[in-house]
C-alpha cells in the first residue's frame, strides 16, 4: 500500500492503519530499535509503542515521508528506554559504542562560547550533513541515526569495514570543526 493511503487510514481512524504500517514498516522500525536496545522483546515493545504514537499523532499530522516519521518515533522511544535501562545497568547494543565515537565531535571548550537550543543545533547538524558528500552522509546517518553496526554498513555499501571507519572518522573530525566554527557549546 502506498504511504499516502496508509496515512489516509490513520485520518479515517481505521484500525487497518496499524496492520498496514506493521506490514510495510514493522521490520524497519524493529531494526532501529534492535540496534539501540539489543533485545528483541524490548524492541517489539518499542515498535508497538511507535504504532500507538503514530495513531495519536495522525491526525493532526500528515507526514510526507512515513518511513522517516515512524523511524524517528522508534528511535526516540528506544533511546529513552535505553537511558532507563542504563540507569538500571542493563545497557547494551550499539549506543555505548556510538557515544564513545561521538565524543570525538565535541568542540574544544576554548573555541566555544554559544549555548544553543535543540532547534538551532538541529539546524547546524542539517547544514553539516548538507556539506558532506552523499556517500559520507549516508554512512554517517547509518551509524549515528540508525545506529547500525559497522559490519552491517560495510556490507550494505559493499565496501570494506576499514573504509566505513575511515569515512566515519573523517566525518566526525569535520563535525567537530563545523561545531567549532559555529562556536557551539554543547
Amino acid at each position: 500500500m502506498e504511504d499516502n493511503q496508509i496515512v489516509e487510514l490513520y485520518w479515517a481512524r481505521s484500525e487497518n492503519a496499524i496492520s498496514e504500517t506493521a506490514d510495510k514498516y514493522g521490520r524497519y522500525c524493529f531494526s532501529i530499535a534492535r540496534n539501540i536496545l539489543h533485545s528483541s522483546e524490548d524492541s517489539e515493545e518499542c515498535v508497538n509503542d511507535t504504532y500507538l504514537n503514530a495513531w495519536n499523532a495522525m491526525p493532526d499530522q500528515r507526514p510526507d515521508k512515513l518511513a522517516a516519521f515512524l523511524g524517528r518515533i522508534t528511535r526516540n522511544l528506544s533511546l529513552n528506554r535505553w537511558e532507563k535501562y542504563t540507569a538500571q545497568k542493563r545497557g547494551a547494543g550499539q549506543v555505548p559504542l556510538v557515544l564513545d565515537e561521538l565524543q570525538e565531535c565535541i568542540p574544544a571548550k576554548e573555541r566555544t562560547d554559544r549555548i544553543v537550543d535543540d532547534l538551532v543545533l538541529a539546524d547546524i547538524l542539517n547544514r553539516f550533513l548538507a556539506s558532506l558528500t552523499a556517500e559520507k552522509r549516508k554512512i554517517f546517518m547509518r551509524r549515528y541515526w540508525y545506529l547500525s553496526p559497522v559490519t552491517e554498513i560495510a556490507s550494505d555499501f559493499a565496501i570494506s569495514e576499514s573504509k566505513v571507519k575511515m569515512s566515519l572518522l573523517r566525518s566526525r573530525n569535520e563535525l567537530k570543526r563545523f561545531l567549532e566554527k559555529e562556536g557551539v557549546d554543547l
Binding site: 524497519y28 550533513l129 556517500e135 547500525s148
Partner: protein
C-alpha cells in the same frame, strides 16, 4: 553528556537525510550493488550472531557452538561484542592495508584481497613495477612505494594483477565498471573453471534455504556453462531474481581475491554473481540452469553451513611472542570442561588489537579467524584477523568483565 545531546538532536535532522540513508535504500549511486548489499547484509547478520556465538535460548540451559569446526557445549549466556570503529594508524597496518591502490601500465587497480594473500602456485609471469599509494588519516600524509607486479595465471592483467609485498602476493583489480557482453567473455578473462571452485552450495526454495551441501566435482557445471558462452549480460538493477528458487554456491577464490561471495543459478535460467564486485547477471536459459541444479542436487552431500568467519570466545590467558592463549572455560557450565586454544599471531592484526583496545590477560575476548581448526593439529588457530573485547551477560544483567 555532550555526546548524548548530539545523538539525541541528530534525531531531529531533516527527513530527507533519514530517508536517503534508510538501510533498504543503500547503493543509490551504484544500483548494481543494491541486491548484493542486501545479500551481504544477511551474511553479516549471521556473522554477528555467530560472534555472539552463544546467544540466549531462554528455554535451554546450554547451547552448542562450533569453534572453527570443533563442537563446544557452552552455558546459556549472551555476549555483547565491543565493536570499535578503529582506523589503524600507519604503523599498525599490514602492508596490503597500507598500499591499497596500485597504478600499473596507466591503469589504477585497487586491493581485492580480503584476508590472506595468494599462494605462489597461482602466480604467472612478472609484468613490471607498479606504484602503490596509501594514506594515513592520523598524520594526513600520503605514501608511495614501488612494488613488483605479477600476472595471475589465467587472468587478464588488464583486469587483475598480483602485487608482491614483503614476500607475499595480493590480488588487485581494475577499479572500473566495464560490464561484459557475454558469459563467455567472463569465462575467458578470468579462466573461471580453473580459478573458482564450486564446492559448497545452498538450495533455496521460495527464498528460504532448504539445505547446505558440499560438491566434490564441479567439472560438469563448468561444462554446461561453457556451452552457454553466448549468454547475454543483463543489467538487473531491480534485483528481481531474489526469492526465486535457486542454488547459491559459496564463491571463495585466492587468485580472484574473493572470500565467501555468491555465485547462483536460478531455476528460471539466470546466473548471477558478485565475485567481480559489481553484480553480473546472465541469462543462460532454463534448460542449462535446471541441468546444473539437478546435477548439484544429485551429487551434493549434506554439509554443515560455514559461518562467514569463525569465532572463538574466551578469556585471554597468556600473551606470548607470536601467540596468545584463549581459555573458554568461562563459557562452560563446569570450568573443568574448558579448552585452551593457541592463537598464532604471525602478523600485526591481533597484536594491534591488544595495544589499541588495551586488552590484558584476564579479559573476555572474541577472536575472528578464517581457517577451520584441524583437530589433528591440536587446537591452534591460524588466520586470526581481529580480536575485540566481549562482555558476558548472565540473564538480563550486563556484567562488564
Amino acid at each position: 553528556m555532550k555526546e548524548k545531546r548530539i545523538l539525541d538532536v541528530l534525531g531531529q535532522v531533516d527527513e530527507k537525510y533519514i530517508e536517503e540513508a534508510e538501510p533498504a535504500k543503500q547503493g543509490f549511486q551504484k544500483p548494481q550493488w543494491v541486491k548484493w548489499g542486501k545479500w551481504a547484509a544477511v551474511a553479516a547478520t549471521a556473522c554477528v550472531c555467530l560472534a555472539v556465538g552463544i546467544h540466549l535460548i531462554p528455554d535451554k540451559k546450554t547451547d552448542f557452538a562450533s569453534v572453527g569446526g570443533i563442537r563446544r557445549e557452552y552455558r546459556n549466556v549472551a555476549l555483547t561484542v565491543s565493536e570499535e570503529a578503529i582506523v589503524w594508524p600507519w604503523e599498525y597496518k599490514t602492508v596490503f592495508e597500507r598500499f591499497n591502490t596500485i597504478v600499473f601500465d596507466g591503469r589504477e587497480y585497487t586491493l581485492k584481497t580480503s584476508w590472506q594473500g595468494i599462494n605462489d602456485i597461482f602466480i604467472g609471469e612478472e609484468l613490471g613495477t607498479g606504484k602503490g599509494s596509501g594514506y594515513d588519516t592520523y598524520s594526513e600524509q600520503h605514501y608511495q612505494q614501488d612494488f613488483e607486479v605479477w600476472e595471475i595465471k589465467g587472468i587478464s592483467s588488464e583486469l587483475m594483477i598480483a602485487a608482491e609485498m614483503e614476500g607475499q602476493f595480493y590480488t588487485f583489480s581494475l577499479d572500473e565498471y566495464i560490464p561484459p557482453v557475454t558469459l563467455g567473455e567472463v569465462l575467458d578473462s578470468y579462466s573461471l573453471p580453473q580459478t573458482l571452485g564450486l564446492d559448497h552450495f545452498g538450495i533455496y526454495q521460495e527464498g528460504e534455504e532448504s539445505g547446505y551441501y558440499s560438491l566434490e566435482e564441479d567439472g560438469h557445471i563448468w561444462q554446461v556453462l561453457s556451452e552457454c558462452r553466448d549468454a547475454a549480460f543483463i543489467l538487473d538493477e531491480s534485483g528481481a531474481y531474489i526469492g526465486k528458487d535457486h542454488i547459491s554456491f559459496t564463491a571463495t577464490s585466492e587468485p580472484l581475491g574473493v572470500y565467501k561471495r555468491v555465485f547462483y543459478i536460478s531455476a528460471d535460467g539466470y546466473l548471477g554473481t558478485n565475485v567481480f564486485d559489481w553484480s553480473y547477471t546472465f541469462y543462460i536459459g532454463e534448460k542449462a540452469a535446471r541441468d546444473i541444479i539437478a546435477y548439484a542436487e544429485e551429487h551434493g552431500k549434506n554439509a554443515e553451513r560455514e559461518p562467514y568467519t569463525y569465532n572463538l570466545v574466551g578469556t585471554l590467558a597468556e600473551i606470548g611472542d607470536d601467540y596468545i592463549l584463549i581459555d573458554d572455560s568461562v563459557l562452560c557450565s563446569d570450568e573443568k570442561d574448558g579448552m585452551v586454544f593457541k592463537v598464532s599471531t604471525s602478523d600485526i592484526r591481533i597484536r594491534r588489537c591488544i595495544d589499541f583496545q588495551k586488552i590484558g590477560v584476564g579479559s573476555i575476548v572474541v577472536i575472528q579467524f578464517t581457517e577451520p581448526l584441524n583437530i589433528e593439529e591440536g587446537s591452534t588457530v591460524y588466520g586470526a584477523v581481529s580480536m575485540v573485547k566481549g562482555y558476558i551477560n548472565d540473564g538480563s544483567v550486563a556484567v562488564p568483565e
